[in-house]
Amino acid sequence: MDPLIIEESIKTPSITFNPNTGVLEIKGKSIPENSLEFYKPIFEWLEVYSKTPAANTEVHVRLDYFNTSSSKCLLDIFRRLEPANSGGASSVKVHWFYESDDEDMMEAGDDYQALVKLPFTLIKV
């Protein structure tokens, strides 16, 4: 399976998903008006990946900010990885990075932690 690499743009984050290492990184900002257009290929990639995932999967979220349209898609990304984790195909962990003075992003990590059945680590950078 090929890695998924999408360059950062004004309204969308960079995506670097490596199926061999299991490191899936989302970085930058995510504020497209219609986030589904952007996230659809990501969901499709994840669907294939979850069938034969790496033994360990780490989702690295390094976002400066994201809009409410994207918040839904982020939740979907996590939810799509839950079965691989609960079924034992891959040990999935989420590393949620936030800047030390950014309470909003820390809170956002907390929000997802409350909704998603994956282990979260909130990491101050």
């Binding site: 008006e33 589904l36 839904k72 939740l75 003075d101 909003d104 929000d111």
Partner: protein, 184 residues
């Protein structure tokens, strides 16, 4: 355009501390430009990063809220109708705050529902706003156009302020809806 005194308009905007104002069709390209202009502006003012992010975040939600409504109105009335245009203003408010005010048309049938929603949001405590946000986030689906139905809750939650709003009846079928958010 009849006898418009552009200097009067300029002075009015200057007095009202308006940084940026736009009236017309709200497109994705326009919003991309507005984000870039405001980012550069905040950069040049040496605004502290934490506040800059908060402002930017709320700005995006306010403008996209209008954008999503405009998409609906354009479908309904065609791109050239007055109802298919909107207005927004970004400026300074009291005590070194930022103000974002948007205005757009809304079908009268939606007025009561929206009013009820806004009244409810304004009564919620920060903890209740979080619960409401999580509830909506985990249960609702994105609309076809990518609206999450979370914008107003998010604006109230992130700004920590009450949302200011009004409805002006303009015709039998439409009201003009204005929404103001202050970012401290």
């Amino acid at each position: 355009m009849a006898d418009l005194n552009i200097y009067e308009l300029f002075r009015k905007m200057e007095e009202d501390d308006i940084i940026l104002s736009f009236k017309g069709d709200i497109t994705q390209d326009l919003l991309a430009s507005v984000y870039q202009i405001m980012e550069a502006r905040l950069e040049s003012e040496k605004e502290e990063p934490k506040r800059k992010k908060k402002f930017y975040h709320i700005l995006v939600e306010c403008l996209q809220n209008v954008y999503h409504h405009m998409v609906d109105l354009k479908e309904e009335h065609g791109p050239d109708a007055m109802e298919s245009t909107a207005i927004f203003m970004i400026g300074y408010g009291p005590e070194n705050s930022y103000r974002i005010v948007t205005g757009n048309f809304i079908s009268v049938e939606y007025v009561d529902g929206l009013k009820t929603k806004l009244e409810r949001i304004n009564k919620l405590s920060p903890e209740e706003l979080r619960e409401e946000y999580l509830q909506q986030l985990s249960t609702t689906e994105l609309s076809e156009k990518g609206g999450a139905g979370l914008g107003l809750i998010d604006m109230a939650r992130k700004s920590g302020q009450k949302l200011e709003y009004s409805f002006y009846p303009v015709s039998a079928s439409h009201s003009f809806f204005s929404l103001g958010v202050t970012v401290h």
